[in-house]
């Protein structure tokens, strides 16, 4: 039996609510809220927090892809973010979209990124300060990133297919019903147009929620290791691809594997089931 870590590989990638409340006005940090609920930020947010909309700010409006490096530089400059700024992400839904935004920032090579452990719900549950005041920071001149790190942390259809055919680790982080093909969307969500239900052949089911406690904080390192290394068979030396339906829940798992367990070579297949389930010629599996 392998010995499991007792500490996160990168504990500095998390900040606790208590710490953040004491450092709201620190120089060199930007707090960034990213949610599924489009208007949630407008109803109140952590003082000084910026809003980054996963769709309007991070995605290209015409092509299904992320914004260009030029647009990313403009986004950061507009929000007073410099390459050396530490971006602390948080949001609703146990930080799904916060992890997604963090992953997108990493795509452009922004290195100083952290997640608020427990996200928006924990902050609110602890009755910490909220405001409706939208902050304005002095503009910066964020340099245009020289490249996007697609190869390093993002998987495309062909790569997911090769992973499937090669029998390498693929983790499906959706709900069991989606994995089995009984439903094509999250429980309690409206149908969103995927032709077929099921999963990528060879993918193991490990719903994202297994990585969190009831208060949306992340489980301890040894528990995470049991889940992903023992149960999912993820091998630190092998490439791993995670996916869900559109890439937000799998960003959460990508964060866990990359920052909390310290695995290299983990990629998020953001095309996920909305691409795979609709793709002509893509094989699916429906086993339990």
């Amino acid at each position: 039996m392998a010995t499991h870590p007792t500490q996160y590989a990168h504990p500095e990638a998390l900040v606790e609510t208590d710490w953040l409340e004491k450092h709201l006005n620190d120089d060199g940090i930007r707090i960034i809220e990213s949610n599924e609920d489009i208007l949630l930020y407008d109803t109140g947010h952590i003082p000084g927090a910026l809003h980054i909309d996963w769709r309007a700010d991070l995605q290209d409006p015409v092509i299904r892809d992320y914004i260009s490096p030029e647009k990313f530089a403009r986004l950061c400059s507009r929000h007073g973010i410099a390459p050396e700024t530490t971006c602390i992400f948080y949001g609703d839904k146990a930080n799904w979209w916060a992890c997604y935004a963090l992953w997108a920032f990493r795509l452009f090579g922004h290195e100083k990124v952290k997640i608020l452990n427990g996200g928006r719900d924990k902050w609110k549950a602890e009755h910490r300060p909220m405001t409706r005041e939208v902050p304005k920071y002095p503009e910066t001149n964020y340099p245009v990133p020289k490249k996007r790190f697609d190869k390093e942390i993002r998987a495309f259809f062909d790569e997911a297919l090769a992973q499937s055919k090669g029998g390498k680790p693929l983790i499906d982080v959706r709900s069991p019903g989606e994995y089995k093909g009984e439903i094509t969307h999250m429980p309690e969500y409206p149908q969103e147009g995927v032709l077929r239900g099921g999963h990528i052949p060879g993918a193991k089911s490990m719903p994202w929620k297994n990585a969190t406690n009831d208060d949306a904080t992340f489980k301890p390192a040894n528990e995470l290791a049991k889940i992903y290394l023992d149960q999912c068979g993820v091998n630190p030396g092998t490439d791993t691809i995670v996916y869900c339906r559109i890439g937000e829940r799998s960003s959460h798992t990508w964060f866990v594997l990359t920052y909390l367990l310290g695995l290299d070579n983990v990629r998020n297949y953001d095309g996920s089931w909305t691409e795979w389930g609709n793709k002509v010629g893509a094989p699916i599996a429906k086993s339990a």
Partner: protein, 177 residues
């Protein structure tokens, strides 16, 4: 220059909206029509603020202790992230009065639509509500906020229409009997 252009643009939108409301036949109940016209004059940031303001007031649409209802439909289904309750009272003049309860996980836009519809449809007949076209929803919410998972913005209207349909079906059955 930019500010002037914005003002002119907004003025035009206000005038168009007033003309539309005064001179064109409206297929919407008067109260709802006023809300639609208001939203159509708002620039995006004010539209968001107004939607949030309606969402803040959604709790005021909950049933009060003394109120009695002909029909109550409280359920959690797959089209919404939490339980939504619809309460219908139809008065002696055949006018509908709707109250709603929302679970804590219901999204902000759904809260906004709850307050808007409860106010906008107040005093309409169940028949008028059932015949209401849904195209006004995007005129209120705006294209910026209609996107993936946008079905949730139609959910409240669907639930209100559903309870009105049950009410009318029961009335018809009672009349035949």
């Amino acid at each position: 220059m930019g500010q002037q252009s914005w003002r002119t643009d907004r003025k035009e939108r206000v005038i168009c909206s007033v003309i539309r409301s005064k001179f064109s036949f409206s297929m919407y109940p008067t109260k709802l029509n006023k809300i639609i016209n208001l939203f159509e004059t708002l620039p995006e940031d004010e539209r968001r603020e107004t939607l949030v303001s309606y969402a803040d007031n959604a709790k005021k649409q909950e049933p009060r202790e003394s109120e009695k209802f002909e029909l109550v439909d409280v359920r959690k289904d797959e089209d919404c992230t939490d339980t939504v309750g619809v309460y219908l009272h139809v008065d002696e003049n055949g006018k509908a009065h709707i109250r709603m309860t929302l679970g804590p996980e219901v999204q902000t836009l759904t809260r906004s639509m709850t307050a808007i519809l409860c106010k906008g449809l107040e005093g309409s007949t169940p028949e008028e509500i059932l015949d209401l076209p849904s195209d006004f929803v995007t005129r209120i919410v705006g294209t910026e906020l209609v996107r993936i998972r946008s079905q949730t913005i139609y959910y409240v209207l669907t639930r209100i229409k559903s309870i009105c349909k049950v009410y009318l079906d029961r009335q018809r059955v009672a009349q035949v009997a």
